[in-house]
Symmetry: C2
DNA sequence: GTAGTTAGTTTGGATACTACACAAACAAAT
DNA sequence: ATTTGTTTGTGTAGTATCCAAACTAACTAC
């Protein structure tokens, strides 16, 4: 191996800027033979990640690489400790028994941070299988700006210190508008404007850092670690405000100014209630958590309807199938869900609306934490 | 060269299924060394396509390949006749003068077909630079199903016969829902349900066939041959109905059932006019061409507003910047455009709405024809 | 115990890049 | 007129990667 293994923590100062797989939306660049290798390596790793323990021959069959190639790649992954041999398969017919290869869940760990809760920051130590090994939380107590940054950093450093195995990276889901390099362009609630969170954390922890919007991260997590293996999904996160994360064909949609998913201030009812932003009838005035908490069952239904009305054009334009709700379970109840789905179906053509499904996040409260872990897994290992 | 040159017309029966670059939304497959070559080849070709005549050294600088590599690739493109030497550069400082390489516009031709007009089918012979060399049109006279298929095929065969140079492929922009293999799943106006247009045309013309929804094709064309070089855009096509084409980061969004962009039957006004589809207040009842033609200036403004209201959630969810209108210029006038833009700005947050721009298609009436050409250019040469 | 089957490894060949060196062609300075 | 320096484009050696095919290994079935 010529240069250091690509998964070794290198303590890069700029998060997300130069990881092997962190160039999703970037303009297409040249290809070198090594890219072929990297692609196939992640293809093998992804196949193991998604389809459980498999033999080298199984891998060859599902990747369409030759057995020789998968064998070579498997050897590399074994040497890095990412994969291990799990003994031979028992229930097999004739022929030499297959040696099963499985992901080593704690070969690398991820420190993840969820800044989406208005009241407290949460952090976790997550293994490669998406299992939370340890967690911390810290009340925010209204901290903003520098002070909030320090609190977040403390949490991460604390958990990084508690990690008994090498770190794959640090993943953060933050409210607000986040650029691909990990700079928080705008997070009004935290008083952050142009804060280079990625660089800040990379300075404190010798591992690559990846930052994304909270809803975007949750969407990635839902797709990679959650329910059925779809390739596209819209996740709507109801909290202090309302935000969404959109993944199309496995790619996160970030938008022109990196503000994709910011649907909280779409006007859904020009005759509605005034919003904190100064306008009238923003979606947030109907479905944000504080508003829903004050509402009765009928009020929650009305909120669901408003959400559905806002999503109907999006569902039509993208021909979306899967919509996932994330947030307090007592608020996102069946009547809310049904009202939203009904509104979408009423307002889209049947060829589209008939296939739409709305469901609750399968990751629950940890969706942003696990989504941030998935972000790191994707950016560092190409598993997505 | 081991096997036939990748650009030679091979008369594939299945359109779009096995062209080198026709696997955009497909699940990621293995990479082989040849993919590296293909990628870099199209990178060089794309650079010439977009940035005009360039020397081999210029290409090396912008692609970040070495001069040796670009030289090799250029030799291949020269041998295929896609590129030619245009003599040495005059306005140069010291050093050996650069030999400029330029695209040969008529090295290959594309037969393109526009089925979007309700009254007549249009077809054209388009060169690699997007110039229309010849065109045909045929009144539809209400033809449907088999009869419409024959008329379309005739037009294409006619133009293919008129082509004085080898065909790169056939491109079609069709109304309705089109799957990536070129099967028209649903085109009610033409009476097509599950018609394998691609196979039908490939049988008549010995060249690869690519079919897309009309608005989708137009969106690709606008991006590749039209105005400023953006990577994302929503094109709204107003005709007999209303449809849209969406390109994000250079990739066409097709949607779960390949119906992305079908926004004509989004309900925008529950108290509005009944629609032919049986519902009330679909977008089409406010902004389809026949409706706008009957309306006065105020009516067109109202239509624009309705369009803006439908697009506001889409613009927010995707953080879109560029929206292009396509259709009859007398209907899509300034008051329509302004009303749509105002509605979007009023209904989205300023961080998103302030950057949104709506403009008319820069390709005019030929946008679907040229879009279909761009589709072929992209799928066959990777130029996009 | 032999034949058949499946798993995994080894070897040779093809491809496609990089790095480096070199020749060609010109401008500017002397 | 000659030298120097710069840029272009090509040629060569080396490395990386994959595939194809042959091979070894291990097991079942009869």
């Amino acid at each position: 191996m010529a240069n250091g293994s690509p998964t070794a923590p290198t303590g890069r100062t700029s998060g997300g800027g130069n990881s092997p797989f962190a160039r999703r939306g970037a303009p297409r660049r040249k290809a070198v033979p090594g890219d072929t290798r990297l692609h196939n390596r992640s293809l093998v790793l992804r196949t193991i990640f998604r389809s459980g323990p498999l033999s080298r021959a199984d891998l060859a069959r599902s990747t369409h690489l030759t057995r020789a190639a998968t064998s070579e790649l498997a050897a590399e992954l074994l040497a890095e400790g990412l994969v291990e041999e799990l003994g031979t398969r028992s229930d097999q017919g004739v022929g030499k028994p297959a040696t099963l290869l499985g992901l080593v869940p704690d070969a690398r760990l991820t420190v993840t941070l969820d800044l989406s809760d208005d009241a407290r920051f949460r952090a976790a130590l997550v293994d490669l299988g998406g299992k939370v090994l340890d967690r911390r939380a810290a009340a925010r107590d209204g901290r903003r700006a520098e002070s909030a940054l320090e609190l977040a950093t403390e949490l991460c450093v604390d958990l990084a210190g508690a990690a008994a195995r090498p770190l794959l990276g640090v993943g953060v889901g933050s409210p607000g508008v986040v650029d691909p390099a990990g700079i928080i362009l705008e997070a009004p609630n935290l008083g952050w404007h142009g804060v280079d969170l990625s660089a800040h954390l990379a300075q404190a922890i010798p591992a690559p850092v990846h930052v994304a919007n909270d809803a975007n991260a949750a969407a990635l997590g839902e797709l990679g670690l959650g329910g059925p293996a779809e390739r596209s999904l819209l996740l709507v996160k109801v909290g202090h405000g309302v935000g969404a994360g959109l993944v199309l064909d496995g790619h996160l949609v970030v938008g022109d100014r990196f503000a994709a998913g910011e649907i909280g201030h779409v006007v859904v009812d020009p005759d509605g209630a005034p919003c904190a932003c100064g306008r009238i009838g923003c979606l947030e005035t109907a479905v944000a958590a504080p508003r829903l908490r004050r509402a009765d069952d009928r009020g929650r239904q009305a909120g669901g309807r408003r959400l559905g009305e806002a999503l109907a054009p999006v569902v039509s334009a993208l021909n979306l199938r899967e919509i996932v709700l994330s947030g307090p379970l007592d608020l996102l109840d069946e009547s809310f869900r049904a009202a939203a789905l009904d509104a979408i179906r009423e307002r889209t053509m049947p060829a589209v609306g008939d296939y739409v499904d709305i469901r609750l996040s399968s990751l629950g409260e940890d969706d942003v934490l696990l989504g941030a872990a998935m972000l790191v897994l994707d950016r560092e290992l190409g598993v997505a």
